[in-house]
Amino acid sequence: MPPTDHTPANSSTPGAGTPAIEFKDVEKSFGPTTVLKDLNFTVAPGERVTLIGPSGSGKTTILRLVMTLEELTGGYIFVDGQPLTHEDRGGKRVELPKKRTREMTTRIGMVFQQFNLFPNMTVLENIIEAPVHVLGKSKAEATKEAKELLERVGLADKADAHPTRLSGGQQQRVAIARALAMNPEILLLDEVTSALDPELVGDVLGVLRDIAETTDITMLLVTHEMQFARDVSHRVMMFDGGQVLEEGPPDQIFNNPQHERTRKFLSSVL
């Protein structure tokens, strides 16, 4: 059962200084449709921020922009103060070389709604692929760490299984272990329980709570699990139409929302 206290599990206040993520005048459009416009916000290192809002409000797009899965059509994103995909050179917006962007994304991990494990690899191979081939770790070291991670997500006995033989909840826990194997500073969680059968949601959220309690990874999450969002996040941002409608500590947003729109949205999901 999830704990019911409404303070974040790891309640040390996130540090000040250089933000882990900064959005500066971000604009994103798909063809003629503008999804995000003039979006500015920062996330402090170690902060856990939940994005809520009706579908189509741009929350998932924000995560996908940080992971460079979508092309940024305007503005800048900074990770640890360094530009992610574009930088300003004498007033001109210049795209960075792909290789540079890829070096930046090694600090960022993402877990998807549909798990997206590689079906042509075993569970262990899924986890060690990037540590070995991107970070240049030795296979032995990566395997040792992968096994520790599998232990942590409760799947130590599944190292040699094929992902297709696992349940959705197990697959999602492997996907979490795979993201953590890169030692990310930032973890993006995109509706990670939405594709799961209700009885499997608890295991996955349990693993995420454990990570929130025991690490200081910056987290940006989109979720419909409001209780979970309340328990683990330091801040909740309510989006509507590509804009931040309101933001604040979970208690404030959930108990005393300022906007009618937020109230309506919360009453429809709670």
């Binding site: 992971m67 460079t68 899965l69 890829r102 070096e103 994304t105 090694t106 960022i108 991990g109 993402m110 998807f112 549909q114 997206n116 494990l117 590689f118 079906p119 042509n120 690899m121 692929e129 990037a130 081939h133 991107v134 094929h162 992902p163 297709t164 033989r165 996907a175 795979r178 993201a179 890169m182």
Partner: protein
């Protein structure tokens, strides 16, 4: 008829030579076609238009012109330009180019069919584009492309018959000789039909083998695969045996507890 058979027996060594020519053309042509298909197909998925468009033009050119004309061009026109190939090289090149162009489209579309989530997971792990293709996308696309490639390779086998126009003595050419020496059109062409059919069957079996391997690597099976059928049979046998034993127990008045199942852990198949 007896005359025909004795002529055929005398003719066997020659027929075998023809079959060998056909096999060499098929194998060498297939290898060439697959290599060309991989290069052109992968190039057609490139994000750079400078690579993609020329590859597309080459594919459309070789798909859009007839195999026979390509063959004549290689054999009769190139020597006029001072380039001389022996007939076998011309045959293999024409088959490889023509069927390679068709197969390139299969390679391209299979790569594009791999779930977008797989590409995204590979990007999220910061895998380089090469690594992403080799380790994640291609192994999955490969399983998708084999059935279409099998069809094209069988067509290639049958397409080898055109080389008899450029002085090569393949199976079709030898059949013609057999027809002339027996004077029995039906007999000669029926023999030829059977041999082509047997060769096509070998190609299909080989491709089935590759497909089984590829799908097994993805942790799934072809629909109604041999393994599936074998397991279904085993399950049915176990079930029948269980029913038999149950009956004999009942007959012996040994009141087996049916609700628990007489032999736990048996049968059930999948």
């Amino acid at each position: 008829m007896n005359d025909n058979v004795s002529t055929l027996l005398n003719f066997l060594p020659q027929l075998w030579e023809g079959v060998q020519t056909t096999i060499i053309l098929t194998v060498a042509g297939s290898i060439g076609a697959v290599l060309i298909a991989l290069v052109l197909g992968l190039t057609m998925t490139s994000p750079s238009a400078w690579l993609r468009i020329p590859a597309r033009i080459v594919v459309e050119f070789f798909r859009g012109t007839s195999l026979l004309v390509q063959l004549f061009w290689l054999f009769y026109v190139l020597p006029l330009l001072g380039v001389d190939f022996d007939p076998m090289a011309c045959g293999v090149a024409a088959l490889a180019l023509n069927y390679g162009a068709y197969s390139a489209e299969v390679v391209r579309s299979s790569i594009k069919t791999v779930a977008p989530g797989q590409w995204e997971a590979a990007i999220a792990l910061s895998l380089s584009p090469t690594r992403r293709m080799i380790r994640v996308i291609f192994p999955q696309a490969w399983a998708l492309m084999i059935p279409s490639l099998a069809t094209l390779l069988i067509q290639l086998l049958k397409g080898t018959a055109v080389v008899s126009f450029i002085t090569l003595s393949d199976l079709t050419d030898k059949t013609e000789q057999l027809r002339q020496s027996t004077g029995d059109t039906m007999f000669a062409y029926s023999i030829s039909l059977l041999i082509y059919f047997a060769l096509a069957w070998l190609v299909q079996e080989f491709m089935n083998f590759l497909e089984r391997r590829a799908t097994k690597a993805l942790g799934r099976r072809r629909p109604n695969s041999r393994t599936d059928r074998r397991e279904a049979k085993r399950a049915a046998r176990a079930d029948a045996a269980r029913q038999d034993r149950l009956k004999s127990h009942v007959a012996a008045g040994e009141g087996a507890d049916r609700s628990k199942g007489p032999f736990p852990g048996q049968g059930g198949g999948l």
